[in-house]
Every structure is written in structure tokens, then in C-alpha cells.
Symmetry: C2
Subunit: 361 residues, 2 copies
């Protein structure tokens, strides 16, 4: 971690940027920074499944910390999956190798919504909270720890579709055909998300990210009617003082409405110009993003060029957290991620200095 | 066709809207209006394959006209496929039932780009031009006829990926790893698109739509460097006086750049607010769109509500062509499309009158 940012009187650069305070250099972390692209993670996954890893707090904390050490990023994010919290809903959730998550009894009717049991994350996913405690302890204050949850719409879209979707037709059908059932489902998922995030905060998370990853499939009109009130309720109920990052993809046409729903930081994907988007949003919000993850498959020179373009868009305004526009891709060379992190630090200070802790392997 | 719009002194409402001239009521047509959702089309496809239908000019002209008669839309679009023009490139194009188009020898290297033969659409796809001639003749001036082609990027993405893609990683890899090969490929496809569109115009098309359907996967920075000059060249080379509609999906963050590339009309998908988008673009361009195709699976009341929201966004400004934000979905009830067309005509004039030609079945 950088000396300047470690200064206790100023606080970590990531949290300062969340609050739109000036920083010595732009903080950076990477969505899905603990992932298949990383040999250290592959080694752990060779020994245990995704679900087992999520349910083994010391292993989850370990991979959380290792990613920070290897990449030199300015924030850790707890290793978990946004669907874990829905496992106790009794919908038949499974993670199939190579196919992504499947829900064997999709929720597509008012009747199915009413049958969903009430779930208390403290009882159903205590292992996540324990992993947060252990990761926070292991990080020893070197960098802040981010907790996260799926936003109500994105959780609902998994529950309704049951399998990976592109058009989300079943989800849209439920909202249009039975708005009462839809809103009931969203209210229940909003309560679940809120409890889950506040539980992670109680366990030691310094900030939280609300992933509304698939909300970009909606028209602004549908977002306003069917999503905004529920996301707003989650964000308004987060433990005061803890920064909230509100993230989605394909949201170039929804940004003002997502801002209305709330969040200290708005996550931008790569399909929008960061400077232009921030201009639309104004100075009242920080932004996170937004390099195209595909660019990490290109040469380090091309990566550096892309980093510079994103930083130029931010134009030194306080409140920019550098990230990809979505999660790192599975085939990304891990040293390209390091090259990106180094370029962010170097180009945003102009010094080239980059003191880190830990080793890289 | 409406009496007011049929007035020869004023011209068809669709062409007037392309030119941002006032109209009696908002013109509407539907992307993929000739498609599987339509029983009259299914009946034809029961007798012949997609490719055979494309290559049989009188049948292609017939389905083109039937769709207009059934739906009561204000423009016809010639029945064809954007990939037809690439069949003579020798890349092994096939249309597999249920899987979409496949290219068996994808173009991923400079060497593969150089091997592509020069193709003259007049020799390779004369049947499309003949279908345009026949459709124009059969329409007898009742509504204008739209010709179309894939934009260089979207054609290139098919050639490079070889199969339906979501992330377009191979395409992005080629542009970043070998920009010379990329630009050569795009230049050649731009020439092909231009010839193909001007050939359709010479055969009788009254307007053309350039489909850059997948360009929304790109960052604005990549669009500017790798796509804009080529799309601009195509649009600048279209036969003067013929309106050009420039269309893409997922382009909420690219609209200003697409406008810079050109087009009399910019196509908007449903993930952007039409009024807000048009506000960003200014008065110098017409817009087309932008109902969510998924909304046509909802009730007629919900469809009518959605139509009204789109029309409200246009706020009566001259230069709005109503359409879906992308093609009509296969399972759409055809009478829902008619309900949408009727709602557009009714709500944009307030008269409820809707004199049509032809029968509906």
C-alpha cells in the first residue's frame, strides 16, 4: 500500500475516493479480482468447489487477501457469490461447471413468490460473515474490504429466468403481466439484500457494492416503475457512514435513474465515456470504472493507452475509483492485470512510484 | 395508407419524417416485420428455407408486401438477410436451424483478410435487387420501400467470431492486436456495404437502413478509432437524396459518435429514453424507435401505455419514426404488433382514424 494513502490522518485512498476527497493517486481494484485467471486461485479451486470455497471462511479470506497482494490493488473484495444468499429459498440453486448458476424451480407466478420462505442471512450464510471477519483481520488495515450483494432486480432475474439469459423475457413478462407479484418479490429481495449487506458491514466490511449487473436490459420507463423504488430502499437502509457503490452493466441510458436510486459511487461499464457520463451525473456522486475487460487481452502498450484514456475522462476530479467495466475475463493473463494496476498508479500521479506490500506470484 | 399521407404533394409520412418534415401522424414500421411471428410468413417458410426464400425474388417481394398489408405499417422493408452479401466471400456461411448463422472459416488474421475475394453484389446477389424491383412494383407507391445492409463493424464481427457472440472477444482482439488487418477488413466491407445499398437504391429502394446491430459492445474510444471512419465512408457514399437510417443496439453511450458517422435518422434501442437521447443529439437528426420488443408479449393495455411513453418522449417534434428498439421477437402474437401500429397512429393524431389498404390475416 502506498505510503501517502496509508497515512491514518487521511485514510485509505479507496474510501477517500468513495467520499469524493482528493487522493495522492487514483485507487484501483478489479471486479472478480479473485478468479479463474489467477494461478493462486486455480490452485485453491483444484482442491474444492466454488460452493465449498464460499462456505470455508478461512479459505475464502485467504484468497481475498492473496488477490490484493498479487495485484497491488487498493481494495479487497470478499470472496463470495451473489446467489449464495438465495440458496435457502428452496428453489434448487446449483452451480454447474461451465454453465453458470441454475435454478431448478424458477419463480414465475404470484403463487411461487408467496411460497418463498423468509430467510435470515445470519442463520443461512454465517460463513460469509465469518469470512469477512477473517479477511478484515488478515488485511490488518492495509487496504479496505468491500462487501457485496446482488440488487433486487438482478437477484429476481436469476430467480425468474432460472438460467443465464440475454433477453430476460420471463422477468419482463412477470413485471408486465403481474405487477403485484413482481413488487412483492422485489420487496422481499430488497429486505434480503439489505440484511445481507448490513451483516457484512457488522462483520467488518468498510464499503459495499450493490451489483445490479443485468438491469441494463430494461427501458428507463420500466426501471423507474419496477426497479428504482426497491433499489432505493436497499441503499437507504445501509448502515450510515458506509460507502455504497451502485453498479450495473449496459446502463448508459439508466445512469440518472440509478443515481436517483442512490449510492455514493456509481459504477460505469466500458460502453460509456467516463467523462461524459460523469458530466451527466454532476459533482454529487463518485464514479467507478470503466476499462473494457477485453482490453486486458491486448498488449501492455494497448492496456496503458486504455488506462490513460479512462484517467483522462476523469480529468483529476476527486471521486474516481479505477476499475474494469465488468468482471475480469477468465482467459486474462494475470500479469496484464498487474500492468493495468501499475499504469493506473503511475499515470494518475506521474511519479512512477508504486510501493506495495507482499509478493507477487 | 392514410389519406393525408398519401397526398402526392406532401409525400409519404415515412420519408417526410426521415427529412424531419411535419406529418399528419407518426409513421411506424417494425424491424423484422416479416418474420416467424407472422402466420403468413410461416406458411411460406414451410415451403422453402430462409436462403431459398431470399433467392426467390417473387416470393421475397410477396412476403415484403404481405407484411405491410397485414400490419398497416407506413414502410416496407425488403425481405433479405444482412449476411447474404458475404456468402460469396468463401468463408463457409451457413444458416443452421435454431442456431443462427455460422461461418465455418472465420477471418481472424491479416492473411485471412488478404485472401478475401473482391465481390460485386450485382453479380453475387442479383436476386436481392430483383426482389427490390418486384416489391417496389407490387407496392405501387402505397408505402415507401426500405433497403438495408450490415454496417462494416457488424459484418466484420460475424466474419471474425464465426458464430453468435455476446462479448465479441475475437473481434476486439483483432482490432487491438492487428489494427492494420482490422482496418483493411473494414475498408473492404465498407465498399461491399456501399455497393450493396446503392444497388438496392438503383433497383427502387426509397431509403436504406445501415444495421450496426452489435456495435454496442464497444467502448466509445474503440468506436472512434476502429469503426467511425468506415461507417462514415459508407454513409457518405450513399446515392444523394436517399435517406439513411443508422441503427445499432446497446448504443446509449455511442449516440453522438454514431451521429458523427452520419445518417439522416438515428435508430435508438429501448435502453435509452427517446426524449433524452434526442435532446443529446439536437435538432439536426431524425430518430427512430424505441419500444422494447419484449413489451409486445404483454397485454394490449400495457403495449398502449408503452407506445404513449415513447410518443411523449418525441413530444411532437418533426422527425420521429416509430419502431421497436430491435427486431420483433419470434413468439410475439401478431395481433399485438397490429395493436401497437394502431396505437401509434391513434395516439399521435388523436383522431382514432386509421384507414388502411389490404386485408389482415
Amino acid at each position: 500500500m502506498r505510503g501517502a494513502d496509508a497515512d491514518a490522518s487521511t485514510g485509505p485512498s479507496f474510501l477517500r475516493a468513495c467520499r469524493r476527497q482528493p487522493v495522492a493517486c487514483t485507487p484501483v481494484w478489479v471486479m472478480r479480482q479473485i478468479g479463474r485467471y489467477l494461478p493462486a486461485y486455480q490452485a485453491v479451486r483444484a482442491r474444492m468447489s466454488l460452493l465449498d470455497l464460499c462456505k470455508t471462511p478461512d479459505a475464502a479470506a485467504e484468497v481475498t487477501i492473496r488477490a490484493v497482494e498479487i495485484l497491488g490493488v487498493d481494495a479487497a473484495i470478499i470472496f463470495a457469490d451473489i446467489l449464495l444468499v438465495m440458496e435457502p429459498l428452496g428453489v434448487g440453486l446449483s452451480f454447474l461447471q461451465g454453465e453458470g448458476p441454475m435454478i431448478h424451480r424458477p419463480v414465475r407466478t404470484g403463487e411461487a413468490v408467496r411460497r418463498l420462505p423468509d430467510v435470515d442471512p445470519a442463520e443461512s450464510v454465517p460463513f460469509v460473515f465469518e469470512a469477512v471477519r477473517l479477511a478484515r483481520e488478515g488485511l490488518g488495515g492495509r487496504v479496505p474490504l468491500i462487501g457485496f450483494a446482488g440488487a433486487p432486480f438482478t437477484l429476481a432475474s436469476y430467480l425468474v429466468e432460472g438460467r443465464p439469459s440475454r433477453a430476460f423475457l420471463e422477468t419482463k413478462h412477470l413485471m408486465h403481466a403481474d405487477p403485484d407479484a413482481w413488487h412483492t418479490l422485489m420487496e422481499r429481495l430488497a429486505v434480503l439484500s439489505t440484511r445481507y449487506l448490513n451483516g457484512q458491514i457488522a462483520a467488518g466490511a468498510d464499503a459495499v457494492q450493490l451489483f445490479d449487473s443485468w438491469v441494463g436490459c430494461l427501458s428507463p420507463d420500466d426501471y423507474r416503475r419496477f426497479v428504482l423504488p426497491h433499489s432505493r430502499r436497499v441503499i437507504a437502509s445501509i448502515t450510515p457512514g458506509v460507502p455504497v457503490i451502485h453498479f450495473g452493466t449496459g446502463t448508459a441510458g439508466l445512469l440518472e435513474l440509478m443515481q436517483e436510486a442512490g449510492g455514493d459511487v456509481l459504477g460505469l461499464d466500458w460502453r460509456v465515456d467516463l467523462g461524459q457520463a460523469w458530466g451527466r451525473l454532476g459533482d454529487g456522486v463518485a464514479v467507478q470504472g470503466n476499462l473494457d475487460p477485453a482490453l486486458l487481452l491486448a498488449s501492455p502498450a494497448e492496456i496503458r493507452r486504455g488506462v490513460r484514456a479512462v484517467l483522462d475522462g476523469a480529468a483529476g476530479r476527486p471521486g474516481h475509483i479505477f476499475n474494469l467495466g465488468h468482471g475480469v475475463l477468465p482467459h486474462t493473463p494475470w500479469d496484464h492485470v498487474v500492468a493495468m494496476v501499475d499504469a493506473v498508479h503511475e499515470l494518475s500521479t506521474g511519479t512512477g512510484a508504486s510501493g506495495r506490500f507482499g509478493s507477487r506470484a
